[in-house]
């Protein structure tokens, strides 16, 4: 506001940079249980507040409170806890494997495990996710074999994708997991198309689109919302706001909009914001949106408020752009610890059982890794054939690719 006669460009900045004290005072956190649970056929304009609040179930003491609580049994919650612990142990081993040169690249979920693990349980068999690169919990929670994931990560002779894809870009139609592109936001509008197809065929299946806070700036995000809104597609439009797009804080993509969820309001799509580190809240909100979609009531936007504790990928060093202790200051806590506390409070879990489960899970991950490594790793042992480069570009290999394959000696 210096010279009133001259323009100046506004470039948003995060509250704090490396060396500073972490500050999340801008993240307004309502009390657990305080946000109402509307009927699924509510008119979007009646729940505009939900796009600016945060639906939470677990309170600071580990109790499940309010209208979104009470949906999951002890067994279901214990399974959820184990899925999150498995994903965390899997990540830790794979980050290490990358450091050891067994793969070129890895992306972990640390701090965000509840989002994909809980969401998966709200879907049915046959529904389809269009994920980004940080939703492996969708596979873990659907009991996709870890060894298959590792075969893909190691690009070995048993890699289901024959060495063609960057590590962690899984694909499993059987498990409702659309092939990950590695490109950003493209899958968001594809999910809407899949959902439209399900509606065209009078099917019962629904789709789930996934995107990160940063990629909501892509035009495909906005196209997806237009198409979902116009055709009332049976799709859940998930936005995982983990605060950071590599080194860029979420304010660069969010701009002047209050929240990412609020993007849905202009399209007439109900939009909810949820505590992404609260397994129970994620499940409850996802279930609400899934029921809406299945009842032909159309799309729902969900913003998961969470925090990316780890680096963006193994090629990233967050200490260059945010305070090292920022994750400890994150006000929504750790999803694994919060669910563990809740289960202990319910009398369904204990410290001892948790420690034992942790050891068992690490052991299972190590066993899977041994098995996968038996089929090779990126630079050692069994690997896909050079022939695999040329296969599968088309259903039928055209003459020019056949000539090139022969030239390559295969």
């Amino acid at each position: 506001m210096s010279d009133p006669d001259r323009l100046s460009l506004h470039v948003p900045e995060p509250a704090v940079r490396p060396g500073g004290q972490p500050d999340f005072s801008n993240v307004k956190i309502p009390k657990a249980g305080s946000v109402p649970r509307p009927e699924i056929d509510v008119a979007p304009e009646e729940i505009r507040d939900l796009a600016y609040s945060i639906i939470r179930v677990l309170n600071r003491d580990g109790e499940a409170v309010g209208p979104w609580a009470g949906l999951l049994s002890d067994d279901e919650l214990l399974a959820g806890l184990k899925h999150m612990m498995t994903l965390r142990a899997f990540d830790a081993r794979m980050v290490m494997a990358q450091r050891q040169g067994k793969t070129s690249f890895y992306m972990q979920h640390l701090g965000e495990e509840a989002v994909s693990c809980a969401f998966r349980k709200a879907l049915d068999k046959g529904d389809m996710n269009f994920p980004t690169y940080r939703q492996a919990g969708l596979l873990i929670a659907d009991e996709y074999p870890m060894v298959e994931m590792m075969n893909q990560i190691f690009s070995n002779e048993s890699d289901p994708l024959r060495g063609r894809q960057l590590p962690i870009m899984y694909s499993s139609k059987e498990h409702g997991f659309f092939t990950i592109s590695g490109n950003l936001a493209t899958q968001y509008v594809q999910a809407v198309g899949w959902a439209m197809a399900s509606a065209i065929k009078n099917d019962t299946k629904i789709a789930a689109a996934w995107i990160g806070d940063g990629s909501t700036a892509e035009s495909d995000f906005h196209s997806a919302l237009v198409f979902a809104s116009t055709y009332k597609a049976p799709v859940i439009l998930n936005i995982v706001n983990n605060q950071w797009a590599i080194s860029t804080f979420q304010g660069i993509a969010r701009g002047g909009s209050g929240t990412f969820a609020a993007r849905g309001l202009g399209f007439g799509i109900p939009a909810l914001r949820v505590d992404g580190n609260d397994y129970l809240a994620v499940y409850a909100v996802a279930k609400w949106a899934a029921e809406r979609a299945r009842r032909n009531l159309g799309p729902t936007v969900i913003e998961y408020v969470t925090y990316r504790v780890g680096a963006h990928s193994t090629s990233d060093d967050p200490s260059a752009y945010r305070p090292k202790t920022e994750s400890e200051a994150w006000p929504l806590g750790d999803p694994v610890l919060r669910l563990k506390k809740h289960l202990i409070l319910r009398g369904a879990w204990s410290e001892e059982r948790h420690t034992q489960a942790e050891a068992e899970i690490v052991d299972a991950v190590i066993q899977a890794q041994k098995q996968a490594e038996g089929h090779g790793t990126l630079h050692a042992g069994g690997r896909p054939s050079v022939r695999d480069i040329f296969e599968g570009v088309y259903a039928e290999m055209p003459p020019h690719i056949r000539r090139q394959r022969q030239k390559a000696g295969y």
Binding site: M169, S171, V189, V192, M196, A197, V226, V393
Partner: protein, 337 residues
Amino acid sequence: MARMTMIEAVRSAMDVAMGRDDNVVVFGEDVGYFGGVFRCTQGLQAKYGKTRCFDAPISESGIVGTAIGMAAYGLKPCVEIQFADYMYPAYDQITQEAARIRYRSNGDFTCPIVLRMPTGGGIFGGQTHSQSPEALFTHVCGLKVVVPSNPYDAKGLLIASIEDPDPVMFLEPKRLYNGPFDGHHDRPVIPWSKHDLGEVPEGHYTIPIGKAEVRRKGSAVTVVAYGTMVHVALAAAEETGIDAEVIDLRSLLPLDLDAIVQSVEKTGRCVVVHEATLTSGFGGEIASLVQEHCFYHLEAPVVRVAGWDTPYPHAQEWDYFPGPARVGRALVEVMEA
């Protein structure tokens, strides 16, 4: 058999495909109730209902992105991009998604979609309604690229494209919609009803993707062309009296290399013609393949005739369009070399 314009042939292809397979859906800008700005989808919504043929928002990336999702579900979308010039917002979806889904998922998911798009100039469309972006597709592995030159081929190739298990870019030369335009813009339009290839079966038939057709047999020089330029090349051959063999590629990717090689080995000379800009155009690929495969048969350097390396102008359209005079000069040049 019936007499059809290329518009009617394209419409008939979609009609036949939709009638045979419930999974075929048609959508795009203005294609539903109205039937498309070129009327290619007229009547399809009335016949098949508005969940099989419908209007889309003006968002090419949304149209192609949703088509990809529908194909992943199991449908066979045949969508219209209103003008080929409008495809750029969808280029990411086309090149990095549609083209690679089979490959990157090792066949777990596939992408059987068709993108129909009116292409080329000749209707005073200016720089944003006249482009020929085929080389931007032929450079992308995983796509098929088809450019018909007449109603009979348009129908057979479009049905083949819709039935194809991979993504097909189907470029419809808009100046050929109503007649076999040979570049003589100052003469009366010849309708398809007066042309052999305007004779089109009403039912189902296909023309294989990847097979070229010789439109004029000749011994002096091979002219490789596609779309509108096939008719321009035929006119140039007649007007110069040079005994050119005119090959209509029909499919650019995959390419019928054998047909080109066979002809050039016979004639020893080759002219490549397209309406798209010259530099890095598809003609460069043809010229290169011809020298790789036919070098010792060549009597003269391969010559390219193409649109100038400028945007497509409005008022000077006919100075830009590579008409029969320019193609004729190239024929003379290659014969005299």
